[in-house]
């Protein structure tokens, strides 16, 4: 499997605060990687290190087979980056910023730029400061896709868009990047967007990685089980691997399961029960529980 991104024990401190703490992860080529975490978890710091905009205090990283320390310029010419939109030059017009960005890249797809300027109906002569938040986001996406990047990195890209525009935004990323077999790194706290398009997810909290796996695997293995037994059962039943925690009320139990679902079910069924329900968990529910447990 070829990797688009590879971090090994990447760390960054701001004074006493460990913004990113020994982060190791791998992003397979051609995947859409959802990078999740609450605000302040270290997502943007990670993205900036990935692009050579911040120097790590420890660890190593490779992006598109280039070292993030020594070859960051080469990385930036091959990566499309959609940052939080406020960072664009406000005094430039739409056309000016396009002409400004173009010389930084070895490739630039003018047709694609025109196609999406028309599609979003962005006024070329208008100054950026007079654009709406949504229009700035759309412009940032165009600028990110124009270099025909091997990897598109998006940092909280859809925060300024309403629901309909967000889905359109995702569809364009799928069409222009993902369908072409290129990689997308989507850093966001908007779980709905990630849940729709990501095939891999990582959860970051307080600078540390607390989970990373295919989203299908996450949804298949992380469940809650509600079981009501007909009589008392031994407490050891709930200490088997895969059961993260449980709460009890009389003979009713609510189990949080992370793994070994089938084995756990089989062992529960050995005791007579009234109710045994498996409760599916969507990404938001999984995320909230994992972050909360991590903070305890």
């Amino acid at each position: 499997m070829n990797l688009a991104i590879e971090f090994e024990n990447l760390s960054k401190n701001f004074g006493e605060k460990k913004a990113v703490d020994n982060l190791s992860l791998q992003v397979p080529e051609g995947s859409i990687f959802g990078f999740l975490g609450p605000n302040g978890a270290g997502k943007t710091t990670t993205v900036k290190m990935m692009l050579g905009l911040l120097r790590p205090d420890g660890g190593r990283g490779r992006v598109l087979n280039r070292d993030i320390g020594r070859e960051s310029e080469a990385i930036r010419s091959k990566v499309g980056y959609v940052a939080e939109v406020q960072e664009m030059y406000r005094y430039m017009t739409v056309q000016e910023i396009i002409s400004f960005c173009k010389p930084f890249y070895p490739h630039w797809n003018d047709l694609l730029v025109k196609k999406y300027l028309d599609f979003f109906q962005l006024p070329a002569r208008e100054k950026i400061k007079s654009l709406s938040k949504g229009m700035k986001t759309q412009l940032a996406l165009i600028l990110g896709m124009a270099p025909e990047p091997e990897l598109l990195v998006l940092d909280e890209p859809t925060s300024g868009l309403d629901t309909i525009n967000r889905q359109e935004f995702l569809r364009i990323i799928l069409e222009e990047i993902a369908v072409q077999g290129k990689t997308v790194f989507l850093s966001s706290h908007l779980l709905h967007d990630v849940e729709r398009v990501a095939d891999q997810v990582a959860i970051l909290n307080q600078g540390k990685l607390i989970d990373i796996r295919p989203i299908d695997n996450l949804k298949t293995s992380v469940k809650k089980i509600r079981v009501v037994f007909q009589k008392d059962v031994p407490e050891e039943l709930f200490s088997q691997p895969g059961i993260q925690s449980y709460t009890r009320e009389e003979n009713a139990y609510l189990l949080s399961v992370e793994d070994n679902l089938q084995e756990i079910l089989n062992s529960l069924k050995k005791y007579p029960y009234f109710v045994l329900d498996i409760i599916n968990q969507n990404l938001e529910e999984i995320f909230i529980e994992k972050v909360r447990r991590d903070q305890e």
């Binding site: 569809r171 799928l174 993902a178 709905h192 729709r196 989203i215 469940k223």
Partner: protein, 138 residues
């Protein structure tokens, strides 16, 4: 055929899509030889990851539900004529699942039998067709 997935459900998108296509084939909404949308088309139509659609197609192909011809696309496969050991195993485990459900719902054998026959009647045309297709000369 109208495809639908709920990305925000706790059931993985690929499971939803796969079950939906299998059901559509079983109920005749998708017919033998009918062309499936391409991975690209379906991914964009549903706004989901193309890798997810590709995974569904791979699994459906392995299970003999669809067939992919290089350069031509994917098509709903002819129904398999080889009811062998492996298929017998799949059928048995599906039936077993039904029994387990029935037990947990406190359904007794008579009721289960009654419901089963009733359900079978509505599916008779589809299932009977399979038997006829398997006869030599057809």
């Amino acid at each position: 055929m109208w495809y639908y997935v709920d990305p925000h459900s706790g059931i993985p998108i690929y499971v939803q899509l796969k079950e939906q296509i299998k059901k559509a084939v079983a109920t005749g909404l998708l017919t033998e030889g009918e062309q499936m949308p391409s991975v690209r088309e379906l991914a964009l139509q549903l706004t989901i990851n193309p890798n997810t659609v590709a995974k569904v197609y791979q699994e459906l192909e392995r299970e003999g539900v669809i067939q992919t011809a290089r350069g031509l696309g994917s098509f709903v496969a002819e129904r398999r004529k080889d009811f062998g050991l492996q298929q017998e195993g799949s059928l048995d485990s599906a039936l077993e699942k039904l029994m387990v459900e029935a037990y947990q719902l406190s359904v007794d054998a008579d009721t289960l039998y009654e419901r089963f026959v009733k359900k079978l009647t509505t599916w008779k045309d589809r299932l009977w067709k399979g038997v006829r297709d398997n006869e030599p000369g057809h």
